[in-house]
Symmetry: C2
Subunit: 237 residues, 2 copies
């Protein structure tokens, strides 16, 4: 089947996948290799691609993220669309698109999605021979990403700040299954760009019935071990 008959090359989705390594927020980027006048050039891009001719946006985001990372069953939500006529005008990006898609490309409007996942989830490329890696948001600032993907990341970050503000239970998507209150606090403070008071934070957590203490503590720490907690969705407000 010809690619032109199944793809809609005017619309794409891009997924901003956030993870938390215990200290910082990270974003999942796909390595991109381009041969430019006989030199190999490496840069990074968001997991994303053009949609199929008869595919809903949400479905496309789920499918494409799965194809590029192997990830399944994750919290994905649309946050903004990007359609600047300039966004698909960089010659390097056009070259890469036409080589990869085997399609003539004009301006592409892309729909941005965010995902929050546990950073230790296994990432495996399925449909492509590319590679995905986690990058600090600080590193991202210094990179030159494909298309307008840097802008998309900042807008996605703004969106998860809003979502995590309204639905604090989403924090647990980013934490390991068993976590300490310190980890939760570091994550909270990172996301909201504050330095909260330890005692007041503990007090607040104590009021959340869905954060339940386990009969277990951290291991292999060179100091007093902290108690571990889990998130119990059934005890949500």
């Amino acid at each position: 089947m010809n690619t032109e008959t199944i793809y809609n090359p005017y619309v794409s989705v891009d997924c901003v996948v956030f993870g938390f390594d215990g200290e910082k927020l990270k974003v999942l980027l796909i390595e991109r290799n381009i041969k430019e006048s006989n030199e190999w050039y490496n840069d990074k891009k968001l997991p994303g691609s053009i949609i199929l001719k008869d595919e809903d946006l949400d479905d496309a985001a789920i499918r494409i993220l799965n194809e590029l990372t192997g990830l399944k069953n994750i919290y994905l939500s649309q946050f903004h669309s990007f359609g600047s006529p300039e966004r698909t005008k960089n010659p390097r990006d056009i070259l890469w698109l036409e080589n990869t898609m085997k399609l003539k490309i004009e301006r592409i409007v892309t729909v941005g999605y965010v995902a929050l996942i546990k950073i230790n989830r296994k990432i495996q490329v399925l449909s492509d021979n590319t590679e995905a890696n986690w990058y600090d948001l600080k590193e991202v600032k210094k990179m030159r990403l494909a298309f307008d993907h840097e802008e998309i990341i900042w807008k996605g970050l703004e969106h998860i700040r809003y979502k995590l503000d309204r639905e604090p239970s989403l924090f647990f998507e980013l934490l390991p299954r068993k976590f300490t209150i310190s980890q939760l606090r570091t994550l909270h403070d990172t996301v909201h760009q504050v330095r909260s008071d330890i005692r007041n934070f503990q007090k607040k957590v104590a009021q959340m019935p869905f954060v339940v203490a386990l009969d277990e503590v951290e291991k292999n720490v060179p100091h007093r071990a902290a108690r571990l907690y889990k998130f119990d969705r059934k005890k949500m407000w």
Copy 2:
């Protein structure tokens, strides 16, 4: 110039324009007349259209809203994109699109925008011989709108609730230039679906330096006239 060379028929914008009549929130809809097997059929749609080949999304929303309503300089913000393959499959909608646009139409992904305006602003159609009118949100529930425009309206409503929650100064986009505290309270209560206490509400407003009392009261009311206020953007927090 052929329409195919200037339009991008795969992407559109739709504007959900809200107004407040003193009692209820209203939405601005365009009258649509379709001739179907020799019978004229009338229904309503959102102000919106396909974008130009080389036009940014925000620019398209501003241009199209202006063309269809004459409105200029209004607060417009993107809230969600809609791309269900079913959304452009109703034969009546396809007929109308192809007659209006003189283009073959496949699935269109539309980007939703919201606007908040003073309901007494003059609406005048520029590029088209259609008509725009205000409708109660309750009426909308009973109508059969074009495409998925009803879904877009509800999602837009959800979005302005969020925006008005975070940026209360946006309330003044919906109120007349001179307003009473009662009007502000009715609007607030309508948007947030609550019944606030009059005294506590007055107290809150009194703490807002940008709501300034005028030396003037309502006229032609069959009871004690309320003081008028204005919004002073320079005194914003």
